[in-house]
Structures are given as C-alpha cells and as structure tokens.
C-alpha cells in the first residue's frame, strides 16, 4: 500500500531524515516508535507532502507520489491526524468534521459518516455546536480522528495520538484505532512514543533514532526484544 525508499528530508541545512525505508501492507497497523526529535513527525509530514523530501521515493498503491501537492495526496485517500491535533479552534465541532470531508461531494454519505463518528464518540455529538477550541485534550483528539475519518481514509497516519492524555482516554483512543482498522479495513501507520500500547495493537513496528530506522520487526518480536524493552518500554 505504502512504500518509502531512501527518504531524505532537510530543514535548511539540517538533515532530519537520513535515508529511511518503510513498507506498509494493505490492512496492516504499522507503528513507528522513537524518542523525541528522532524524525517521526518529519516522516509523516514528508509523506503527506507538507515538507517535501530532498531525495527518495514515496510510493502509494504503486504510484510514485513524491513531490505531489498535499491536497492531491489527501484526494488519494492518505489522511494524517497530525501531532498536537490541530483542531480548527474557531470552527465548531460540526464544521471541523465538514472540513474533514472537504474534497467530497456526496452530501448524503457525508451525513451518514458524520452520524457514524458521532456514534463512535457520543461526546462530540453533544458538543457539535461548540467551538473546537473549547474541547478538552481528549475530546480534541477524538475530533481530530473523526475529522480524518470524514475524509474516508484508505490509509490513516496518526502522529502521537496519545500525547498528553489521561491513561483512560489513551486506552479508548487505541481501542478506536484498532476498531477502525478491523471494521473498516483502514490501513494504519501509527507514530508513538507510547511504545508499549502501540506495539500491542500493531502488526509490525519500526524503531527510529536520529533520522534513521534502526530496527524493524513484527510487533510481538519488538515487544520481546531486550533493547526495545530497555530503551522504549521502561522495563
């Protein structure tokens, strides 16, 4: 579904990605774990076309999308829930969901999908007329995921969805991610620092350190790996 080859991305003269390779199959949950500053966000922003890479290839469903404009990538069904949620704080909850469906024209289906996300997160239905900025962190994350679902993702990229949330909410978010993957068949690429939780729901995992992929294996092998345990699982 998504294949990354030798990706290199720079901020000015600073090289944030030093040639990374990733492979995500249809229907999988793949996680990318790594410490702060490793280059996880840069990886997602490069894939989404927001921070164009200098070298390397991004192949989506067999098509080279390197250098494609961000909005065109969205139209291909690759949708990102960015770090920090980035809710449109002065738009209402409902308008935020509308924005998620920006490129769609099927009004009736959009409405159905909106009902679906309201069912997934009933609290959003209650707050539909409130400004996005008035929601709590957990509610904002639910809205960010829902907004992405409104775009009908074929592959969903999530950047640290558990960041700064209470443990009970974190559990709920991970459950939903798993549910989306299982029920809708949506492929998921999950970036996390919460390695333990991420590896528990993922099929496969990559470990990233200072712009390079240093390990890749099945999620269960990574969970059992001594080095991973020491560095990322705090065991």
């Amino acid at each position: 579904m998504l294949k990354i080859e030798n990706l290199e991305t720079f901020y000015g003269n600073i090289q944030a990605l030093k040639g990374i390779d990733l492979h995500i199959e249809d229907g999988e949950i793949v996680t990318l774990i790594g410490a702060n500053g490793a280059g996880k966000t840069t990886t997602l922003m490069s894939i989404s076309g927001v921070v164009p890479p200098r070298n390397g290839k991004i192949i989506l469903n067999g098509k080279d999308i390197t250098g494609t404009a961000a909005d065109d990538i969205v139209s291909m069904g690759l949708i990102q829930v960015p770090e920090g949620r980035r809710i449109f704080s002065e738009l209402s909850v409902a308008e935020n969901l509308d924005m998620g469906a920006f490129l769609r024209n099927d009004a009736a289906e959009i409405k159905r999908d909106m009902e679906y996300v309201y069912q997934l997160f009933p609290i959003l239905a209650e707050r539909r007329h409130q400004h996005g900025g008035t929601l709590s962190g957990g509610e904002q994350q639910m809205l960010a995921i829902s907004r992405a679902l409104m775009a009908k993702p074929k592959i969903l990229l999530l950047d640290e969805p558990s960041l700064g949330l209470a443990p009970i909410i974190v559990q709920q978010i991970f459950d939903i991610i798993k549910k989306i993957n299982q029920e809708q068949g949506t492929t998921v690429f999950l970036v996390e620092q919460n390695a333990n939780q991420a590896l528990k729901i993922a099929h496969k995992g990559y470990v990233m350190e200072t712009g390079r992929i240093t390990m890749s294996d099945t999620a269960s092998n990574l969970l059992a790996d001594d080095e991973v345990k020491k560095a990322y699982l705090g065991i």
């Binding site: 989404s48 076309g49 927001v50 404009a69 961000a70 909005d71 969205v74 139209s75 949708i79 990102q80 960015p82 980035r86 449109f88 704080s89 002065e90 738009l91 308008e95 509308d98 924005m99 998620g100 920006f102 490129l103 907004r147 775009a151």
Partner: protein
C-alpha cells in the same frame, strides 16, 4: 449643538467609513491568511478608480445611459482590479512565501511604488475629473444638504457588499476554506484544501471590494490621480489595525470608527488636522487594546 450639522457629520463619517471598511477588508484578509501587510493594496483601489474612469470615458461616446455606463464601468473596474490583485500575488508574493516575512513586505512596498509610478507615467500627476454618472435620486431632494445621491449609493452598496461578503465567508466552501487556512495553514492542507487557490481567492476578493470602494469614492469626490491610493490605503490600514488586523468584522468596525472620528474631528475641531485624527485614534485605542477592537489577544506560548 446643532442637530442638522451633527447628522450631516455623522452621515459624512459613515460615508468615509464605508470606503475605509471596503479597503480594510483586503488588508485584514490577506494578513489573516499569509501574515503580510500588502502595502500595494491602496494601489489596487486606485487602479479600480482609473479603470472605471477609462471605461466610462470610452463608453460616453456610445450614447448609452449614464447609469448603464456607471454599472459597466464599475464591473470592469472590479474585474480588472481583481486581475491585478491576483497577478500581484503570483509575481510578487508567492515566490517569497517561504522567505522571511520582511522580504515579502519589501516586495509589497516595491509593488506599491511600481504601480503608482506606472499610473503616473500613463496618466500624469494631474487630477482628472471623474464623470458624474449617477442621476440625483428624487426622494433625496428634501434632505439633499445632509445626504446626497452618491453618499446614499455608497452607504447602500457598502451594506450590500458586507452582507454578501459575510454570507460568502460563513457558508460557502471557499469561505470555510479561507477561515480554516487563516487558522492553520498546515492543517488546511491536510484536509485537502489547495492553499494556493485560497490565497489567490483572498487577493481576488480583497481587490474586488477595494475597487468597489475606489469607484464609489471617485464618483463622490469627482476627481482622481495616481496618488489617491496612498493616503486611502494608509487610512484603511489604520482602520484594519484599529479593528484588530486579521478580523473581518474588526476591519468594518475600524473603518466606521475611523470615518466617524475624522468627520466629527474635522467638523467640530478643525479641518487642518484631518489626517492627524486617524493616527490619534489609532494610538489611543492601541494603548487600551493592543490587539485592536476585535482582535484576538495573542498569548505567546512558551
């Protein structure tokens, strides 16, 4: 206190304020989306006025009715100015989008000087009479001394433009895209908004409203030259800052506050200080509300 005189000044202030508001919209929208003070925006207003002058001069030979000429000239001005605005964005600002902000600002000042001088060469520095194409409305006859026909047209047109504008921003897909882009340009891209189109449309819209202002005020005052965009542009910019730059209702409110201040100031104090009032009210308001009347108080995140 003389009541009629007060009303006269009040209506005069609303008229000025309408024009400031129409121009201020462009400043505030562009700032809201790309954080650029488009210094050349006043020139778009001036070019709108000249376009209307040229088109109406040509059409005056056709024997068309003056009102029809005025409408055609106004439409031509709006279309032509919008074209200028979009072209300006494309050649002077888009290439600098990722450059430091100061570069784009300098480019804007350059654009302003370029457009002024180009019109100066083409049209000389002399004031040129702007034709009076709007026939006096009969029902205004009794109150002619306090409100004449062009004033009435300015107020009505501005009101209509504001309503259409608000509906457009609030309910259309492009309006929502503009608001989303102003709030978070990266996120806007991540939901599939083509920000190049949004920015282009912002320039189109701002230029169109400025041109409407240019045509209206020219018919009211009756003469134009290459320099009219400079002072009007600065005043409208003051209005935008006064209202809270980036805020659309703020630009409108700022325009009216400024127009009324100037009108009452010149009427009750002295017309010698006409241009001082604008800056005096700006300073006073910014002391008490540094982000403008309706501006957001920006809390810096640490």
């Amino acid at each position: 206190m003389n009541g009629t005189y007060f009303i006269e000044l009040f209506l005069g202030g609303l008229t000025r304020g309408s024009i400031y508001a129409l121009i201020a919209l462009g400043y505030t929208m562009v700032y809201g989306i790309i954080q650029l003070i488009n210094f050349a925006h006043g020139e778009i207003y001036m070019i709108g006025a000249f376009t209307a002058l040229i088109v109406s001069s040509v059409l005056s030979f056709t024997g068309m009715s003056p009102v029809l000429i005025f409408i055609i000239a106004a439409i031509a001005a709006v279309v032509w100015a919008a074209g200028y605005g979009m072209t300006m964005e494309k050649i002077a600002y888009k290439p600098l989008r990722n450059a430091p902000r100061l570069s784009a600002l300098i480019s804007a000042i350059g654009m302003s000087l370029f457009l002024q001088n180009y019109v100066l060469l083409a049209q000389t520095s002399d004031f040129q009479p702007f034709p009076d194409l709007i026939p006096d409305l009969a029902f205004l006859k009794p109150i002619e001394t306090i409100m004449n026909t062009t004033q009435f047209i300015i107020l009505v047109t501005t009101a209509v433009v504001m309503v259409v504008f608000t509906l457009l921003i609030r309910y259309t897909k492009m309006g929502k895209a503009m608001r989303a882009t102003a709030q978070d340009m990266v996120m806007a891209q991540l939901v599939g908004i083509n920000i190049n189109k949004v920015i282009m449309f912002t320039f189109l819209l701002g230029s169109a409203t400025a041109a409407i202002g240019g045509v209206l005020i020219s018919s009211h005052i009756g003469q134009i030259n290459y320099y009219i965009g400079f002072l009007a542009g600065i005043k409208a910019f003051v209005a935008a800052v006064l209202g809270g730059i980036g805020s659309i209702p703020g630009a409108v409110l700022g325009g009216f506050v400024l127009g009324l201040t100037e009108s009452f100031g010149t009427g009750y104090i002295s017309s010698d200080y006409e241009d001082v009032f604008a800056f005096a009210i700006l300073i006073i308001i910014l002391i008490f509300r540094p982000s403008g009347l309706l501006g957001k108080t920006t809390r810096k995140k640490v």
